[in-house]
């Protein structure tokens, strides 16, 4: 039986979206099941926690685009009912109910609201029963309030496009799919879960996410931080990270909560410096990129961080808050005027249902269980689980995870189905005198009610070069696109202005209207008559003047517009992987399984790297068999070539077409021409010369200890965490040391060795925290010290004497141990990183790891920029694993797959038009003097100076048309095709000519 080529995605977490995009780009269709009635009703992790000041638009828009292209279908009010069949041929029964308003057809004319006879007041807001839901600001969601609607049918009659239908019955449909992706959303703790913290009990205890939600339309201002009880600004605010104090099993956290706490604290300090801010936590989990620096800034801002094992919250008079907390052996109490709760994640509530329907298993915490060492594989073949459904994760991980499973999904899919739409034949108008046609949309008559379109049209007639002005019904529904396109064609104009509504959402439709009329979209301008005029102003006369000015400006801009075809560029299909460690090998194997050729470049004489000396991790993953297998596969693959003892000496070219010169010891120089490059060069163990390390053999690093573990069978071992890190010289957390230390401590304890562990913060995140409790149970002593007061090695005769002052009790402790183990952390291989970064034009971050600002790889601290709609364009270099940031071996493997997954979306394109097709930047060769300013500012490495001609050239498919080059160029040699300088200047003139 042939395999199906559609994929079902259940739930709207960000990994699920990512997968939909990746598959869409590869030409596969997806069906997305949304349990809600609109796009973000069920909030995913990022929307739920809102850790930073968030803009979701760039993630939101591709969804429309993909729906428009037919690559994606979304079922609303839907759920999964039954799964039959097996991988490649699942038959899935789903229920769905289309929303009353199909927002893909809706023109947002609001006639339905105007005619609705039912006035209601909900939560103090006056509206009709038919209304626009505005919880999330990025899209107008037309809703019908079922409890108040009288079903009179007026709205349906008034709807000019048929988008609104009151009769939307629930349907049960069966769909055939090759693979199923489970990506249900984040579950927020509710009132009961947070009872411990007084939320909903005391007015001045607020959830951080609510605070952020309330401020979405203004971003944080003073008003965001006022007390709910009296609307006054509090003098003291407490920020509490709840999952760290809540009862076990209720909520889990990765590092989102810690980062959010610090971020909020800094924000408050920035906006109202007078407010005292105190953060209560057990540990500050700061292993995300830049998070330690955020902490340093908070300290500088005067934010207090109190680490305590338990707190209790109560209300005192005036609705103030009293927080009692454990401090050493005593209790302390502090009063606040307001408290902000940062919550974690509940085990997924969809688990039980999905277990029954899909046959998947849950782990002991109630999250979806994955097969060890795999990316998203559940125990059922063809059913994969991603995102917050499988574990508490940081935002970058959640977002990025969608690429990893591409290989696994494709295994279960048949031939691809979707072809991108072809551009219609366009007229050549280069020899014609500009004739501008202005087509004013009346939005089915609704604009006329607000503004006199006839008057406007008459005024526009006087603008030079305007030869046609016409009022049209619309140009965003199939029939009006058709009719407006014919009107444009008939009028014989060669430039078009559409005075319409929102190009940000309907861009594709407007462009379609223009191209159907045979005109290049570069010869068109879209005016937001509704968004910039009608909806934001009241005075009809002033509105008319403003509309005139906007159209006048557009006409002046269009006069000088020039058409041009979309440029194309060739694209190679092989990858080069730098570094033959486990990360690089994993990436190579992934790509070979996808059918792509790759070259591994390794400077030493063996592959496998440092992973070869690792045995197991804290969670019991055995690395040796995995690595042996991996090396076997790599050696056996015909698509992978391994170059050992090889160094890179020069890189030229650009993403898609790199040209790399290499030398192999004892051989001639040779060349590779990869399309993309994966940098998996790893990092180094930090070298320290404190605590007599190197002088006294009893002082070791954790890795040294792992080699000697079998020799230590009794006595007392002391461990010190954060040695030489999380200080001003190295302000980052190495992420892995705490689990490594606890893992080793547990192994020692099993043999009867006593262990004392000195630490600052226990960064055992996610489920790893279990091992911390296990260690405590087994009698491993944990002693916290202050960052300014590290334990000291005071003597080293028969035994090692360590003294330390306990952070909480202040007690001076003296301990004698047989061994002292230092957790020294990971440092970047700066020399090597700098060399490669220079060759590939990459940036290093402040700590010396690869920065990923403009790279394709995980946006580490940028849950803000979740998804870029046109992410096909990257600069083609993917730093992964330890080269990118410290992380555990399992995490580096995932990262390798994610990068390779992304690469496999990019590689199968022999010819690529640029992501923004027509709108790329260009160089006027006569004017360019090769100063290189544009090259220096281009965030995409899309420009370089031609070594022979000494002028700038553009690699069109890397260009995202941001325009940085245009501003950098002091001449007008650099320009965007649709924003030429002469266009911009004359449009400003016209805009102002009142």
């Amino acid at each position: 039986m042939p395999k199906e080529s559609t994929t079902l995605i259940y739930g709207t977490n960000l990994s699920g979206y990512r997968i939909a995009y990746a598959l869409g780009k590869l030409g596969y269709k997806t069906v997305l099941l949304n349990r809600g009635s609109y796009v973000d009703e069920i909030k995913n992790q990022v929307l739920s926690q809102l850790p930073l000041d968030l803009c979701w638009a760039c993630g939101h828009m591709p969804q429309r685009m993909f729906i428009g292209l037919g690559a994606m279908q979304v079922f609303y009010n839907s759920d999964i009912l039954e799964v039959n069949g097996s991988a490649g041929n699942f038959k899935v029964k789903v229920k769905k109910r289309d929303p009353y308003v199909n927002n893909f057809i809706c023109t947002e004319c609001e006639k339905c609201i105007d005619v609705c006879p039912v006035d209601v007041t909900v939560d103090g807001e006056q509206r009709k029963a038919c209304y626009v839901h505005r919880e999330m600001a990025w899209e107008n969601i037309y809703q019908i309030d079922e409890t108040h609607c009288t079903r009179c049918g007026e709205c349906e009659k008034a709807c000019p496009t048929g988008a609104l239908k009151l009769d939307r019955p629930e349907e049960i449909v069966e769909i055939n799919v090759g693979a199923i992706i489970l990506s249900p959303e984040f579950d927020e703790p509710d009132e009961n879960d947070l009872a411990l913290f007084g939320w909903k009990k005391f007015p001045n205890i607020v959830k951080s996410a609510d605070l952020a939600r309330a401020s979405l339309s203004t971003n944080f201002t003073q008003e965001s931080f006022v007390r709910p009880s009296d609307g006054k600004l509090p003098k003291q605010i407490a920020i509490v990270i709840t999952p760290q104090f809540n009862q076990k099993g209720i909520e889990y956290e990765s590092y989102n909560a810690s980062a959010q706490a610090i971020y909020r604290a800094n924000k408050i300090k920035e906006i109202v410096p007078e407010i005292d801010v105190t953060i209560f936590c057990r540990e500050y989990r700061c292993f995300g990129k830049g998070h330690c620096r955020m902490y340093e800034r908070a300290e500088k801002n005067g934010v207090r961080v109190i680490r305590t094992q338990s707190i209790s919250i109560d209300e005192i008079p005036d609705h103030n808050i009293s927080i009692k907390y454990e401090w050493g052996n005593s209790h302390k109490e502090q009063n606040f005027e307001m408290a902000i709760l940062i919550f974690g994640q509940k085990p997924p509530q969809q688990m039980e249902k999905l277990k029954k329907i899909c046959g998947i298993e849950a782990n002991e915490h109630g999250f979806c269980k994955l097969e060890p060492f795999t990316c998203a594989k559940t125990n059922v073949p063809g059913i994969l689980a991603v995102g917050e459904f499988t574990a508490p994760k940081g935002n970058p991980e959640t977002v990025w995870e969608g690429y990893g499973p591409v290989r696994e999904i494709l295994r279960h899919l048949g031939d691809k189905k979707i072809e991108p739409p072809k551009l219609p034949q366009l007229k050549n108008v280069s020899k014609e005198i500009p004739k501008i046609g202005v087509f004013i949309c009346s939005c089915f008559g609704s604009f006329n009610e607000k503004i006199n379109l006839e008057n406007l049209a008459n005024r526009i007639n006087s603008i030079p070069r305007v030869s046609k002005v016409e009022i049209v019904e619309g140009c965003c529904t199939p029939s009006t696109i058709q009719s407006t396109a014919s009107k444009i064609k008939e009028s014989g104009v060669n430039r078009v202005i559409l005075a319409v509504c929102t190009p940000l959402q309907k861009l594709m439709k407007f462009r379609k209207t223009v191209t159907m009329a045979g005109l290049n979209p570069l010869l068109s301008e879209f005016i937001r008559l509704r968004e910039d005029v009608i909806q934001v102003h009241d005075d009809p006369e002033k509105m008319e003047s403003k509309a005139f000015a906007l159209i006048h400006a557009a006409a002046s801009k269009l006069k000088n517009a020039q058409a041009a075809p979309p440029p194309m560029d060739k694209m190679g299909s092989t990858a080069m992987i730098i570094g033959g460690g486990i990360t690089g090998l994993e990436a190579a194997r992934y790509l070979s399984e996808m059918g792509f050729q790759s070259d591994i470049v390794e400077k030493t004489d063996i592959i496998g790297g440092r992973a070869a000396i690792l045995s197991t991790d804290i969670e019991g993953h055995e690395f040796k068999p995995y690595l042996d297998n991996l090396i076997k596969d790599v050696n056996a693959s015909k698509l992978i070539t391994v170059h050992t003892q090889t160094n890179i000496i020069n890189v030229s070219g650009y993403a898609g077409n790199f040209n790399v010169s290499l030398t192999k010891t004892g051989e001639d120089q040779f060349e590779l021409k990869p399309a993309i490059v994966i940098i998996a060069t790893g990092a180094l163990e930090n070298k320290v010369d404190i605590y007599s390390y190197g002088k006294d053999a009893r002082v070791m690093t954790q890795s040294d200890l792992e080699q000697k573990l079998s020799q230590i069978n009794n006595g007392h071992v002391a461990m010190i965490q954060c040695v030489g890190s999380r200080n001003p010289n190295r302000p980052y957390c190495s992420r892995i040391c705490c689990s490594q230390a606890v893992h080793n401590a547990l192994l020692l304890k099993e043999k009867g060795v006593d262990v004392t562990l000195f630490y600052r913060d226990m960064n055992l995140y996610g489920f790893k925290e279990d091992y911390y409790w296990q260690a405590i149970d087994r009698g491993i002593k944990f002693i916290r010290f202050d960052q300014h007061n590290y334990p000291k090695l005071t003597g080293s005769d028969d035994s090692l004497q360590i003294s330390c002052s306990d952070y909480e009790t202040g007690d001076e402790l003296k301990i004698s141990a047989d061994y002292l183990i230092l957790s020294v952390g990971i440092v970047p291989d700066i020399q090597n990183n700098e060399k490669l970064a220079k060759m590939f034009n990459l940036n290093l971050d402040d700590d010396g790891f690869y920065d990923v600002e403009s790279c394709a790889c995980p946006y580490e601290d940028a849950s803000k920029r979740l998804m870029k709609p046109f992410e096909l364009s990257s600069n083609g270099v993917f730093p992964v694993g330890l080269a990118h940031s410290p992380r555990s071996l399992i995490e580096t493997l995932l990262m390798a797959r994610q990068a390779a997954g992304k690469a496999s979306v990019v590689l199968p394109k022999p010819m690529m038009p640029p992501p923004n097709a027509m709108y790329v930047s260009e160089v006027d060769a006569d004017k360019c003097v090769g100063c290189g300013l544009c090259v220096g500012v281009c965030p995409y490495n899309a420009r370089e100076i031609d070594p022979v001609k000494k002028i700038a050239v553009v690699h069109p498919f890397l260009c995202e048309s941001c325009g940085a080059c245009v501003v950098a160029c002091p001449s007008s040699a650099a320009f965007l095709r649709d924003h030429r300088e002469e266009q911009m200047i004359s449009s400003i003139d016209a805009l102002l000519a009142v």
Binding site: V929, A968, P970, S971, E981, E982, S986, A993
Partner: protein, 386 residues
């Protein structure tokens, strides 16, 4: 000391013989420096080998006819020099060379930059129309004492008058006129200096110290003077009226930009079709104001040029020399660039390592230029009550 020597030789002929010497001995293949024209009233640049070293050549001419950076740009813009070439530059020319190197307009491969303690220069028109013999005499005699007085604005307020940053520096200040110090600051410079027949005599330290003392004092004075002059000037041009008065005589000839070494564009933005507007544009603009000065875009040109190049302006004064209307362009641009450069703490021409401010950025900076929003604006609240 391998980076400093003392060279005997009286006055300018002595200085010139140093170049003659290094050419003849093959330490360099060619030298680029100005030489006096036949008529004797002006200078032009010559690229000379040992057989062509002109009698009239003058490493330290009393005027700056063409900014040296512009000359060097013409030579190396499309590729490196294949012969070892020494280029003699005024400090301001040197700074422009550094800027243009960062802007890929000059290739320093095989180029040895030589600069010197610069006494300043005469305004171009004054020299050309004056009595050159006496002007030359007055100029040459002031080389060692920093006593030269000029009316050239850029030189009056110049506070970076040494050849710092060059491969080779010729130092006259504080010396008697029978010789000068020559110091090397780079590997290239040291390589050359190694073979220069200078005396490495014992009182070198005293001579260096003498210069340093005079220099320290002079730099302080000149810097203070610069600030005072610019501050005073600012008062005279401040505000729309004053500023437009300054420019009222401008004839839009754009000579200032042509003379400017930093304006390296082959076609100026403000001469490009970006501003070539059709009749209806000009008429519309005129209609709005009821009248429009022609040719238009005078202020846009000057402000726009400041926007493009003030970050790299080296205050050489070439613009002012080139202005047929005697507009104090140099003062104006120096004033503006003093502030724009301070925004980024950028010192143009100081070092090749210092990146151009518009190529780099920091995540946390310049917050004072943002309009912060920490409190809801009241009238908006009132107008849009929900």
């Amino acid at each position: 000391m391998d980076d400093i020597k003392w060279l005997q030789g009286k006055g300018k002929p002595g200085i010139k013989s140093f170049f003659q010497d290094i050419l003849t001995r093959g330490l360099i293949d060619t030298v680029l420096m100005p030489a006096k024209n036949k008529k004797g009233n002006s200078y032009a640049w010559f690229l000379m080998n040992k057989d062509g070293f002109l009698e009239t050549s003058d490493p330290i001419p009393p005027v700056m006819t063409i900014q040296g950076a512009n000359i060097l740009k013409n030579i190396t813009k499309k590729g490196e020099s294949w012969s070892k070439t020494a280029v003699v530059l005024r400090p301001c020319e040197l700074r422009a060379v550094i800027e243009l190197t960062k802007l890929e307009q000059i290739n320093l491969e095989n180029i040895i930059l030589i600069s010197f303690d610069c006494p300043g220069a005469y305004p171009l028109t004054q020299y050309i129309s004056g009595d050159q013999t006496s002007l030359d005499q007055k100029y040459d005699s002031s080389l060692y004492t920093a006593s030269f007085e000029t009316e050239r604005n850029a030189c009056i307020m110049c506070d970076k008058f040494t050849g710092q940053g060059a491969d080779i520096q010729l130092c006259f200040l504080g010396q008697s006129d029978d010789g000068f110090l020559i110091s090397a600051a780079s590997a290239k410079g040291k390589e050359l200096l190694k073979d220069v027949n200078g005396t490495n005599e014992e009182n070198l330290e005293i001579k260096t110290k003498k210069r340093d003392e005079l220099l320290g004092q002079l730099q302080k004075e000149k810097n203070e003077k610069r600030q005072v002059i610019l501050d005073r000037f600012k008062e005279t041009i401040y505000g729309t009226d004053n500023l437009l008065n300054v420019f009222s005589a401008c004839i839009n000839c754009h000579n200032c930009r042509r003379a400017c070494p930093i304006c390296f564009c082959s076609e100026c933005y403000f001469e490009s079709k970006a501003l070539y507007s059709e009749a209806d544009n000009q008429l519309n603009r005129a209609t709005r104001k009821n009248a429009l000065r022609m040719p238009s875009d005078l202020l846009l040109f000057h402000l726009g040029r400041m926007n493009h190049m003030s970050i790299s302006c080296v205050s050489c004064g070439a613009c002012e020399d080139a202005c047929p209307e005697n507009i104090p362009v140099s003062l104006l641009f120096s004033l503006v660039s003093r502030d724009t450069q301070a925004v980024f703490n950028y010192d143009p021409g100081h070092s090749l390592e210092e990146p151009l401010p518009f190529v780099v950025y920091k995540n946390e900076e310049l917050k004072e230029y943002e309009a912060h929003y920490t409190k809801r604006h009241q009238s908006a609240c009132n107008c849009n009550t929900k």
